[in-house]
């Protein structure tokens, strides 16, 4: 339904078209959000709204079926914001601009398609569509060890999707083998031993993308080598595909499997949260710091999902949203700083506050959002996660929660370390003194993201309601 528009724009790729396309996308998503909220308040009670279904390949019961609920609505909104700002952030990208944006659009098509699909196979297809352009975008337009990073990223994620494909087929046959539609499958009972086998496959398959320990190592290399907008989209949206998939496919369809395997994965995610934070403390490359920070924050998403209370799952979605916005902001700023100084090593950067005050202030705000300052988005997400996790009563979950909360201190350590090192102090490199502050397109991108981060942080109630309403049915499925 909405997809037609997104694909139609692929023909003529110049900046103007990209901007028009991206702003149309943004407006459509905003319109979708508003109409979704108004339909809900008018008493629409179906789980998914705006549903549609076209049969694709009848012998395998593959349909192109779409629909959105509160979770996918906010994810779409997030994606369109990041595509929009990412366009501005890569304004001056030089070689092969057209091809770059072409792949970039294909990538975002995959992402949007993924979030609106309700058919397992279509979902998987869009997932792959989102992954492949990554390889080219990093391999061609990246920096540093780009071939290695691109290869590593693609191979690891492909490995994950191999698991995923097996898992999806397992679900398909477990549910009777005559429908791929999630909404249909959930009404049937997948036998317990099938769930037992296929839950870990699906969860791991998506978990790789959600940077689950120990399958997170693609993330630092991949992020470090990717061009700015790709890092933004990748950390901001693509990593959310993992969390979304874990929730929507693995946990929703196989609640019994989740109950059995939950504890093991919870340990892994708790490790992710703390481990990512500790690893970030000693990194020297700005992008590595943020990549590890993403491991920690995305770990928190999966962590909250596995706590399986309504509040914690709402928190997980909020955390996806908030992390998406702040990492995009971070990577945008890092890209802009790198574009000027040609280094991301924090030992070589000092006193940027005096040289590029706008970017530096943006960086401080992004950092504060990351360490959970109230009024910015990180705080509400983390608090919802922690309050929600604490509702899970038994000792094991409590201990995990308390371990995970320590990450907020460590986050403060690595954020302030970077801020203190690169922004404050006096600039020691004479070459850097001549650098200029942000240009208008960069300013625009940064301001957009900051407004979103602050908007979510200051007025969280409506998003929280929106998400919580849709988390309900999934959770009631899990608690049974």
């Amino acid at each position: 339904m909405l997809l037609g528009l997104w694909i139609a724009r692929n023909t003529n790729q110049v900046r103007g078209v990209m901007v028009t396309g991206a702003s149309m996308l943004l407006m459509l998503s905003a319109y979708l959000t508003i109409s979704y909220i108004s339909m809900r308040s008018n008493g629409a009670t179906e789980e998914m709204l705006f549903t549609d279904s076209i049969t694709w390949y009848a012998p395998l019961h593959i349909c192109y079926s779409v629909g959105v609920d509160g979770i996918s609505v906010v994810m779409l909104l997030l994606s369109s914001i990041i595509v929009f700002t990412g366009t501005f952030a890569s304004w001056k990208l030089q070689p092969l601009t057209k091809e770059y944006f072409l792949w970039f659009t294909l990538l975002s098509t995959g992402v949007f398609g993924f979030f609106i699909s309700t058919d397992l196979f279509t979902m998987f297809m869009f997932y792959e569509v989102a992954l492949i352009p990554m390889y080219l975008l990093i391999g061609v337009w990246g920096s540093g060890k780009k071939e290695y990073a691109a290869m590593k990223l693609t191979l690891m994620l492909m490995g994950g999707s191999a698991f995923l494909l097996i898992g999806i087929l397992g679900i398909f046959y477990g549910a009777g083998g005559d429908t791929m539609n999630i909404l249909e499958i959930v009404k049937r009972d997948i036998p317990y031993n099938m769930q037992y086998i296929f839950f870990p496959l699906v969860f791991l398959g998506f978990g790789v993308l959600g940077a689950l320990f120990p399958f997170h190592t693609w993330s630092p290399d991949g992020h470090a080598s990717a061009p700015t907008a790709v890092s933004m989209l990748h950390a901001g949206v693509l990593m959310k595909l993992g969390g979304y998939g874990c929730f929507r496919v693995a946990m929703y369809l196989m609640p019994e499997g989740a109950a059995v395997w939950g504890d093991l994965f919870l340990i892994l995610t708790t490790i992710s949260v703390v481990y990512g934070a500790f690893s970030a403390v000693v990194q020297t490359d700005l992008k590595y710091i943020n990549a590890y920070s993403s491991v920690s924050h995305c770990g928190l998403v999966l962590f909250a999902l596995l706590m399986m209370t309504r509040t914690s799952c709402t928190g997980a979605i909020l955390q996806m949203l908030s992390h998406g916005l702040m990492t995009a902001l971070f990577f945008a700023l890092i890209g802009m700083i790198y574009g000027r100084t040609h280094t991301r090593d924090i030992r070589e950067l000092n006193g940027l506050m005096k040289i590029m005050p706008f970017l530096a202030v943006g960086y401080v705000i992004a950092g504060l959002a990351n360490l959970g300052l109230p009024g910015l988005s990180g705080f509400i997400a983390e608090m919802t996660v922690f309050v929600g996790s604490f509702e899970n009563q038994d000792l094991f979950h409590r201990v995990c929660t308390i371990i995970a909360t320590t990450s907020i201190v460590i986050t403060a350590v690595y954020i302030l370390r970077v801020v203190g090192k690169i922004l404050y102090g006096t600039c020691k490199n004479p070459d850097h003194l001549k650098l200029t502050d942000a240009t208008w397109d960069e300013r625009f991108a940064v301001i957009c993201l900051i407004v979103c981060v602050a908007g979510l942080g200051l007025a969280p109630f409506w998003v929280s309601d929106l998400i919580s309403g849709s988390v309900g049915p999934i959770i009631s499925q899990l608690i049974q």
Partner: protein, 629 residues
């Protein structure tokens, strides 16, 4: 009371205006915007206080608790949600007055002190942000709102300490302040989680049934919350950030690190006091012990410091210790039996805010005049700066507990409460009070009397500060003189009923005598040109003196824990592990599949001979196998 929303609204407005448009403004305009909004806030706070305390008491003799605003900000579940609102009760109204008064004085003072600094607008923007957060903290309607603003004051303190962001010490100090308090806040957060889960609400007054049912959990929740309070209020061993925080501009130290933010921990304990005294009296007594130890430790360190702001910082830590002790020694809600400490603590918070801000602002004038924090550059300054001298003296007398200055009255109540609880604590606190008098007068004499650093003063003659700086001094000195006569117990007491302060004669006389003796000792040791006795003492107890000077090496211990243990022993190996073991494993997988691909490739190399050989060999083996079977 609808106008109370403006108390929060105005500072946030001025923060936004100054933060966004500040760089296009002149210094003067920015300063005026900030100060004007704060002046309006002060006016509104006084109006609120006036209206609140003139409203007749309710039937049970207490002031009603008003909630003019409250809305649901972030819902979690049906019963758990973060609300944002304004709550007025005697202590929050009292805090409104303290914060707005001191903040206004600091705003005016900064006009002179920060004149010509780059980033003047940014400075005023941060001050507004701080005032907003601090005011929001005290009027919080629930514990989570308090936590929200708690974090915000932490950040504004971080930004203000690091105001001189090109100075390495300031950057390090701001980072340290934030991380240490963040670490403590972790305790606070977990405390809130426990509290919220078991009480089923974040408000300060959970249902009676829930409390009875989970009375086991309340001490845990409150104890952890106190950890957060101890971090903000610089209780031992989390005090290490406060002396370093003096790297910030002096007016900031006066506002944040003396009068308002650092007493947030005391305020937190007072806020939760009904729960503490009913369900966790043991935790409350621990508060007292920690407070007493901190007070003693800080007082002994303050006796030997040479940086005047450091002396004041340790004195602040020590005085907050006094407030904590006063709260901790409470054994009940009735102010006549065991609840006296609550009133005493709040009273001391009130008076201390005034005279400590005065001391810091005075120190600011001195630093402004001699361009250094070190005592060695001062001495004999009384001739050059008469206003600063006299106001500083008043503040010193107040903190030493000499009547009729305000500190005497509040300290006397604290000591009386301590003696009621246990004579041991009472005696210890009296000794600490004597130490207070001693180090304050040591400071006073070293600055204004003693040996003058003539060489330096001839090169640059110290001068009195402009009126924007001396007016706040005089105003605060005036408050210090009269604040003691406010019938404080009438407004604030542990159970809310009116309580008239009686001076406990035996306690009062002892404390005055002890204070006078210490002052005399300080006069004898430091007022003269030659400080031979002091030098001799320092030489005789060399080790003790050095240890105290280095704050008993607590900072080094923390440095060891953070640098050595966290960085070296956790993070670095972890990062290595990640890069080499986990990533290495992934690379190994890739490598092995690559290698196996390579090795298998040779099999399909297109040589017909090999194919034929394999084919024949296979056929023979199969035939043999068939025959054997």
């Amino acid at each position: 009371m609808d106008y109370t929303i403006l108390i929060l609204g105005l500072p946030v407005l001025s923060f936004l205006i100054l933060g966004i448009f500040g760089m296009f403004m002149k210094h003067r305009t920015a300063g005026i915007i900030g100060t004007a909004s704060l002046a309006a806030v002060t006016f509104l706070s006084y109006l609120t206080a006036y209206n609140y305390f003139t409203t007749p008491r309710t039937a049970d003799g207490t002031y009603a608790t008003l909630v003019p605003y409250n809305f649901e900000w972030l819902p979690f579940t049906q019963s758990l949600h973060i609300d944002m609102g304004i709550l007025l009760d005697p202590i929050s109204v009292m805090m409104l007055i303290v914060i707005s008064t001191v903040s206004l004085m600091v705003h005016i003072y900064s006009f002179g002190y920060m004149k010509g600094e780059t980033g003047f607008q940014r400075y005023y923007a941060f001050l507004s942000l701080f005032s907003f957060s601090m005011l929001g903290l005290v009027v919080a309607t629930n514990i989570f709102q308090m936590y929200v603003f708690w974090e915000l004051v932490g950040v504004s303190s971080y930004l203000l300490i690091g105001f001189y962001y090109t100075k390495a010490e300031a950057i390090a100090a701001s980072k340290k302040a934030f991380i240490v308090t963040r670490f403590a806040d972790l305790g606070f957060l977990i405390g809130i989680l426990i509290y919220g889960y078991y009480m089923g609400t974040f408000t300060f007054t959970p249902g009676e049934e829930r409390m009875m049912q989970y009375s086991m959990m309340i001490p845990w929740a409150l104890g952890l919350m106190f950890v957060g309070g101890a971090g903000k209020s610089a209780m031992f061993p989390l005090h290490i950030w406060l002396p370093d925080a003096m790297e910030g501009p002096t007016p900031v130290s006066a506002l944040i690190h003396a009068a308002t933010m650092v007493v947030a921990g005391v305020y937190l304990v007072a806020r939760m006091f009904p729960l503490f005294s009913a369900y966790a009296p043991d935790v409350l007594h621990w508060v007292a012990y920690i407070g007493a130890f901190t007070a003693f430790y800080a007082a002994s360190v303050a006796c030997v410091q040479s940086d005047i702001k450091r002396v004041l910082a340790f004195s602040t830590i020590s005085q907050i210790g006094f407030m904590m002790v006063a709260l901790g020694v409470c054994t009940g809600m009735n102010p006549h039996e065991g609840g006296l400490g609550y009133m005493a603590s709040m009273f001391h918070l009130f008076t201390h805010a005034m005279f400590k801000a005065l001391l810091f602002l005075g120190a600011g004038c001195i630093i402004h005049a001699v361009h250094s924090n070190e005592m060695s550059t001062m001495g004999g300054l009384r001739k050059y700066m008469p206003i600063t001298h006299w106001t500083f003296l008043i503040a010193c007398l107040a903190i030493s507990g000499i009547p009729p200055f305000s500190g005497f009255f509040s300290k006397d109540e604290i000591l009386a409460a301590c003696f009621k609880f246990s004579p041991v604590i009472g005696t210890i606190m009296t000794i600490i009070a004597a130490m207070t008098a001693f180090y304050m007068f040591r400071l006073y004499y070293c600055i204004f009397w003693g040996k003058e650093n003539k060489e330096l003063h001839e090169k640059h003659v110290p001068h009195e500060s402009p009126i924007t700086m001396t007016f706040p001094l005089m105003f605060l000195a005036f408050l210090t003189c009269v604040a003691g006569f406010i019938p404080f117990g009438h407004f604030v007491s542990s159970n809310g009923e009116s309580y008239s302060i009686e001076i406990n004669m035996s306690v009062a006389i002892t404390s005055i005598v002890v204070a006078l003796v210490s002052i005399a000792l300080a006069t004898w040791m430091y007022a003269r040109e030659k400080q031979s006795f002091a030098e001799m003492l320092a030489k005789r107890f060399n080790k003790l003196h050095t240890a105290a000077y280095h704050r008993f090496y607590i900072d080094e211990v923390w440095l060891f824990i953070t640098k050595k243990i966290i960085f070296r022993c956790i993070s670095t190996p972890l990062a290595w592990f990640d890069r080499h073991i986990i990533d290495g494993f992934m690379n190994l997988l890739a490598w092995s599949s690559n290698e196996s691909g390579e090795s298998i490739r040779t099999i399909q190399n297109g040589k017909i001979q090999t194919y034929t050989f394999c084919f024949l060999a296979g056929a023979i083996i199969l035939t043999v196998m068939l025959l054997l079977l």
